[in-house]
């Protein structure tokens, strides 16, 4: 069971307080009418399934009811950081590949 740092509550809490809401940073197209059916289908249904660094949207549904983002390693399940909506991740697949993996920043707990 994951231990997740809620950036709104400022605490590590158990996974059962949270609800996973899929991939993070899926922006709704600003002009839906301009999308083809295929583009709209891609926005609605197509998601990444990476091996390694992934950015996810979580909801502290049994806590503060706030959504936030989580950077998680899908291999080890390490949560490397959590950050508020609108913020950018400090750790990405690209940065992870180049930088030293053990330097974990932000508020995420390294397992």
């Amino acid at each position: 069971m994951l231990h997740i740092f809620c950036p709104h509550c400022g605490e590590l809490r158990s996974e059962e307080e949270f609800h996973a809401s899929g991939q993070a940073h899926i922006a709704r197209p600003l002009d839906p009418a301009a999308c083809s059916d295929e583009e709209w289908g891609t926005y609605m249904f197509f998601r990444d399934n990476p091996r390694g660094i992934h950015h996810e949207l979580w909801d502290h549904v049994a806590g503060c009811r706030q959504y936030f983002n989580v950077t998680r390693d899908t291999v080890t399940y390490e949560i490397l950081e959590t950050y508020k909506i609108g913020e950018k991740p400090q750790i990405t697949a690209a940065s992870k590949a180049s930088a030293a993996p053990s330097t974990v920043k932000g508020l995420g707990e390294k397992v």
Binding site: M1, S14, P32, D37, W40, Y67, T76, Y77, V111
Partner: protein, 1004 residues
Amino acid sequence: MSQSYRLASGGRVNRGKVLNFSFNGKTYQGYEGDSLAAALLANGVDVVGRSFKYSRPRGIIAAGTEEPNAILQIGSSEATQIPNVRATQQPLYAGLVATSTNGWPNVNNDVMGILGKVGGSMMPPGFYYKTFMYPKSFWMTYEKYIRKAAGLGRAPLQNDPDSYDYMNHHCDVLIVGAGPAGLAAALAAGRSGARVIIADEQEEFGGSLLDSRETLDGKPATDWVAATVAELQGMAEVLVLPRATVNGYHDHNFLTIHERLTDHLGDRAPIGQVRHRVHRVRAKQVVLAAGAHERPLVYGNNDVPGNMLAGAVSTYVRRYGVAPGRKLVLSTNNDHAYRVALDWHDAGLQVVAIADARHNPRGSLVEEARAKGIRILTSSAVVEAAGSKHVTGARVAAIDAQAFTVTSPGETLACDLIATSGGYSPIVHLASHLGGRPVWREDILGFVPGDAPQKRVCVGGMNGVYPLGDVLADGFEGGVRAATEAGFKAVVGTLPKAVQRTEEPTLALFQVPHDKGTRGPKQFVDQQNDVTAAGIELATREGFESVEHVKRYTALGFGTDQGKLGNINGLAIAARSLGISIAQMGTTMFRPNYTPVTFGAVAGRHCGHLFEPVRFTALHSWHVKNGAEFEDVGQWKRPWYFPKPGEDIHAAVERECKAVRDSVGLLDASTLGKIDIQGPDAREFLNRIYTNAWTKLDVGKARYGLMCKEDGMVFDDGVTACVGDNHFIMTTTTGGAARVLGWMELYLQTEWPELKVYFTSVTDHWATMTLSGPNSRKLLAEISDIDLDKDAFPFMTWKEGTVGGVPARVFRISFTGELSYEVNVQANYAMGVLEKIVAAGKQYNLTPYGTETMHVLRAEKGFIIVGQDTDGSMNADDLNMSWCVGRNKPYSWIGLRGMNREDCLREDRKQLVGLKPINPKQWLPEGAQLVFDPKQPIPMDMVGHVTSSYASNSLGYSFAMGVVKGGLKRMGERVYSPQADGSVIEAEIVSSVFFDPKGERQNV
């Protein structure tokens, strides 16, 4: 003779307390402190079960979790049956009743055994895949007999009388295992002041020290165990958990411990006590000190009762005072196993010989055995056991382990017990639960835990450290590290001194060669699953090279065994057969749980009425008092109907419907979701999430709204009222309340954070009583100060005032088609208001009605219920609700783009229509499929289905709603519903509004 294999003295059992127990119907005696296995062996019970596939007689091999054969059914009554209990782990109690789980009709006279003997070649690996696949439909027939013959135990047929529970913990250091390494770690961590939990699966702490010859500081090792446990128990921050197996290592240092609090007392927990408890522990640091399992050597007929693990023999002799035989032959490839011969010799029993596979062993323990005059045969091994139901001898021959050949015919030594040791395998299970692959270490011939991101240290035997002095030091060091990492300052301490010995390396021997090779007697690798060395070789010959494939093809390490006893032997045999190293072969995955967990422990308190929370409305007790039958709607208990004496549901619903249409009815609508929406952008927000327009809704007015998801499909509906220019109150479906709120928050927080609007769930704050029917106005007027005049308070508006003397919000909306008022009051005033309504309603025959009547009345009006008439694939057009879609709203609201997809614009989509059976007495079952041509051969073209169906008194005929392809353009056409009994119900496609199509009754 009773307990003829009990030694005259010794052991940690209480000889003063004799316990009676029964096994397969026969009564035996044992002592307090025995395991069931020890008590069986003390009584000379050698056959405890029949093997899974070949049905060979099987006896006790081990003394702990790795036991593959003595897996029994326990329980003296039907309600207390427990399947698959390892006799080696079950403490004996007075009155224990155990039976074999495999063996039919019984273990000594087994029908399947004949099949097994005939069928050596009949049941090769992959047997199930090869044999029972065809014809596919026969699997059900095969399965019944396979299951019966395989003997997997059985579940009780009655409810478990005991209680179970969960406990949550946070700790600094969790220590898994209380052997020498774990105890040393606990001392180090406990003395630092850290909050420590130490758990061990055995009845008492001490692990290998409980049956060890070793001394610490010149005293028996158990003295140190007792002192250490006493010290730990005296520490305020240390929780000591015996009989507690750490079964799972889950993400982020979350571990589950299965504690058996009363299994040693009886098959029912004493009154007031919990039988099992699951501890859910979040640990800052984990010290894994799980130890190592001795592994057997694989040789011919190594499954005949009387073949045992060397260490297990020592356990029975030293811990339980039981000798599982008289004459011992030991087959080993390492020094450590020699202690078994020494223990046996010291107990005054005969050691026939020690066969050591090594060329010239000279370690301290070897020399000690030599000095006692024990015969040692070097470069030798037991190649084959003699005997069928019990060992009668051991053929010992010279072998060349390197060339994998037998180099002499050898001699058969008469004996009744063969102890084997093929070295030690660190118990890496917990360290691997999260996917970390163990690493092969050639120097210790075992897999040790690999690197992992978890905050854990592995110490002692689990880490490949075996000499006692080193184990203590490694454990202590691990405890210091864990406590320090958790933020505590370790205290310097001294450890007791163990005797130093010279120990020579173990020889890499996993399977003993046989002069006849695979044509020789069967060599078992996994006894629980009847996997033989020949079977593994066959699997590799048939092309299964990956360890995971070999496992699945042969069933090696399946089931409750989880790769404990024979796993490494199996890997080694597969590797040799493939010509690769064990390191290249690797291990299979290990998964929780380490040992089987009872369903009771898994369920904890989440059973019976505590299985799920139940929600009651503020008026629940009134419903109960008035005889309501209840329906579960989500977690809510809603009145379903209110039967009068002698009435069934049909009669009650007919009466309730009539009362609403003729006079006035009362519905408890409190369960509808209510969301309070406030903020300057509230109106804009509603525009974006509802399909219709909200810009012009004035204060005091209410409007029905539809919600779609981005795909354009309807997912909730309800009425929202304008309370103030920046304040709305939204209602949702009962079941959708939480879902809708979460979905609204999602859009607000992630897409439109610039909107100033806030949502609060107020479902439980308000109680809602709906008065519906032509007399509702007259009734309400008697207890309310609100002007109810039809022009002052028109349809689809709401007003504030008092009802029954308390502040209320009254909404003039209708789900029945009748003049209706929804009275909302603070939930804690509701009962008093209800009583006033009921008193005033007497003269109007005010009739309480439930959800069933509500469904009939709304369906007569063609009002949908989201989730009943919709299924997530229906848009507003499909529901004939285009009137509720504001396609010209400036913002591209949720669902608009989705419902403009090409597929949503097809004219032959399934559309919601009314269905009127041609025979008014016939009733279309809900869910029934519809066709246009009932004479079409099967498979027929299905064109839709029935979503709602009722008998209607108001209409005088039964009617239904359903979806039909292109149905809105097929008014007056016929559809047919073929029934399972061969009959066909014919219906006419009609408008879904059956009653009062102009809506005159609600606009009065």
